[in-house]
């Protein structure tokens, strides 16, 4: 399960590392944006440990939200061109045998690149 973690302490406090130590759960950081005043990280944790990791991060001062779904595609808009395929860092998109685009949303790390790249405005990310 994926958690979106937002923190505001100038990145000097390694809260994800601390959460790993506190809980003993391995956390996979899929994407992180950290600037001088705040940071945001998308982390992947085993489903059964989701709750304790979330609580640990909250105790360390972060906002935590569970990311239910990744990218979503409006089937009425999508023309199955494939412009999204090569620009996605996680290979979420591929063609099936009929040249129709299929998505594997679980792999999505919500980077947002495909949203701009889709010529038909078929893709949105929500979390």
């Amino acid at each position: 399960m994926k958690l979106l973690v937002t923190f505001y302490d100038k990145g000097t406090n390694p809260i994800i590392a601390k959460a790993v130590m506190d809980t003993g759960v391995l956390i996979n950081v899929e994407r992180a944006v950290i600037n001088s005043s705040e940071g945001e990280a998308l982390v992947d944790v085993p489903d059964d440990a989701c709750h304790i990791v979330g609580e640990a991060l909250k105790r360390l001062g972060a906002d935590v939200r569970i990311v239910e779904n990744g990218v979503s595609r409006d089937l009425n808009r999508c023309v199955s061109c494939g412009a999204c395929i090569s620009i996605c860092p996680k290979e979420v998109f591929s063609f099936d045998d009929d040249w129709m685009i299929v998505t594997d949303e679980k792999k999505c790390i919500l980077c947002g690149r495909c949203v701009l790249a889709c010529p038909h405005q078929a893709l949105t990310i929500s979390y």
């Binding site: 023309v79 199955s80 061109c81 494939g82 412009a83 999204c84 395929i85 090569s86 620009i87 591929s94 063609f95 009929d98 040249w99 129709m100 690149r113 701009l116 790249a117 010529p119 038909h120 405005q121």
Partner: protein
């Protein structure tokens, strides 16, 4: 053996004609041989569905009361052409909305009309004795128009070179998003299904030939603009009635930072008259070669990185310099197949009669670049050569003094050999001098990834770099990588006024 067009039309009427889509032809010829395929197949249907920017339509609105000679015309705030007497306009696909910018354009107006949505017409006139009215605003659907005739000057490119980007910046182009450092390859076109690829000598495709255009039955007007058949890049001018079109086959699109464009579905049925037609329609993706061009070079002559076939592009990745680079298609092969199959359905149901060109398309044409009678302005003409520089090992305090003395905002940073290795701004320095105890050097705070220009670069290209990277100055470097001047956005701004869009 030769089959006449009359014989094929007779079979189409009787319902005895054998019709296949172009992607099936290679296997049929392999199985039956050329003679066998000629005896077996009567019509091959082709199809393509992709971005065709050079598209649009003539609209006729009828006369208002009192009448107006519409001289400036807007449809949902997208300007149409106003030089066609009183009550007509041409709406072009890539024209942007004056209120919504690149999010809405002529392509969307066309799609809205086809979907029977209401569109606001606004027009102005200076008024005349015969047309006294000065302005009009009204809401119209396609049913209110007398004519809505799509006429696309340049459609159905025979093939189109693929794009990659060897520069270190992300590019948004009409060929889609191009990742830096050859991160991906983008291509367009249906390969084996492409109409002209199945008739490269234009024996069957020419003026008056019926085609599928956006879900309607239309026809080929003749050669398209930029038609360059002798180099294998033929195009077609097409027309069809927008009132019969469907948004399954006409779709507005937006290329980020390029603007609106129209995805058009086009298919042409090809009568199998003789062995030459069989051979031409047996074309495979493997046979259709294009170049991969480097869009990192902002020139008309984008260098070719390598040759590639549509088969390789469609496989999902292409090898470049020993690395597998992923490919993306901008056009939809799935919808191209849908066009070819729909065309086959029409023919199977006897809804279409085929004909040969009433006028043939020139196969020896070559498209030339624009003749320019005025020289473009180069960076060397407006760059500032009184540039103050710092060495990477200098201490921040010294750099700060130079900044203050020279009234400069940007200091290019050199190494000991005099090469440009970074840049520091007033902001970088002021942040650093807050902590004098840290004894920082210039190289500790400078930006290393410097965007640069050259003295002989056209200023519009430099302007694009400034805008793309949200920066206000570019170091000008010579062939050895030494900084020889600075180009300031403020100097450029005085010369370039009509870039639009970015107020």
């Amino acid at each position: 053996m030769h089959k006449s067009i009359d014989l094929i039309n007779q079979r189409l009427q009787d319902g005895t004609a054998k019709i296949v889509t172009a992607d099936q032809m290679p296997a049929i010829v392999e199985e039956l041989g050329e003679e066998g395929a000629l005896a077996e197949v009567d019509v091959v249907t082709t199809g393509t569905f992709g971005a065709m920017c050079s598209s649009g339509g003539f609209l006729n609105f009828g006369h208002a009361e009192p009448p107006i000679k519409m001289e400036r015309i807007w449809l949902n705030d997208v300007e149409g052409y106003g030089g066609l007497a009183a009550v007509d306009t041409y709406i072009g696909a890539t024209m942007q909305s004056e209120t919504r910018g690149e999010r809405y354009g002529g392509a969307h107006v066309i799609e809205d009309f086809i979907n029977k949505r209401p569109v606001e017409l606004r027009a102005q006139s200076k008024g005349s004795d015969c047309y006294p009215r000065r302005s009009i605003t009204t809401e119209l659907t396609i049913d209110d128009l007398n004519q809505a005739i799509m006429v696309n000057p340049r459609n159905a490119y025979q093939r189109y070179d693929a794009a990659t980007n060897t520069s270190n910046t992300l590019l948004y182009t009409y060929m889609g998003t191009l990742l830096p450092n050859t991160g991906n390859i983008s291509y367009s076109g249906a390969g084996t299904l492409n109409p002209i690829c199945n008739d490269p000598n234009f024996r069957l495709i020419g003026s008056g030939v019926p085609l599928f255009l956006g879900g309607a039955q239309g026809m080929v007007v003749g050669e398209g603009t930029q038609h360059s058949s002798s180099s294998g890049f033929g195009t077609l001018m097409t027309t069809g009635d927008m009132k019969d079109m469907s948004s399954d086959f006409i779709r507005a699109a937006i290329m980020h930072r390029y603007g609106p464009t129209l995805y058009v579905g086009i298919g042409i049925p090809l009568p199998v008259l003789d062995i030459d037609v069989v051979r031409a329609t047996a074309v495979r993706d493997e046979d259709i070669m294009i170049s991969i061009r480097d869009y990192g070079v902002p020139s008309r002559n984008r260098p070719a990185v390598r040759k590639v076939s549509y088969a390789e592009l469609k496989s999902g990745s292409v090898e470049l310099n020993g690395e597998e680079i992923r490919t993306s298609s901008l056009s939809s092969y799935r919808n191209a197949l849908a066009v070819a199959r729909k065309l086959k359905d029409w023919l199977d149901q006897g809804q279409m009669t085929l004909s040969l060109p009433t006028r043939y398309i020139d196969t020896a044409r070559i498209s030339r670049p624009m003749r320019e009678t005025k020289r473009v302005t180069l960076v060397s003409e407006i760059m500032d050569t009184r540039v103050i520089m710092v060495k990477e090992d200098e201490e921040i305090q010294l750099a700060a003094k130079k900044l203050l003395k020279g009234e400069a905002n940007h200091l290019p940073v050199q190494n000991n050999e005099g090469c440009l290795v970074g840049i520091v701004t007033t902001f970088d320095i002021s942040k650093a001098v807050v902590h004098p105890e840290r004894k920082l050097k210039v190289k500790d705070v400078m930006t290393r990834n410097v965007i640069t220009t050259e003295a002989n670069e056209p200023i519009d290209i430099a302007a694009q770099k400034l805008e793309h990277h949200h920066i206000s100055a570019l170091p000008v470097v010579d062939a050895k990588g030494c900084c020889i001047a600075l180009l300031h956005a403020s100097d450029l701004g005085r010369l370039i006024t009509s870039h639009g869009g970015n107020q």
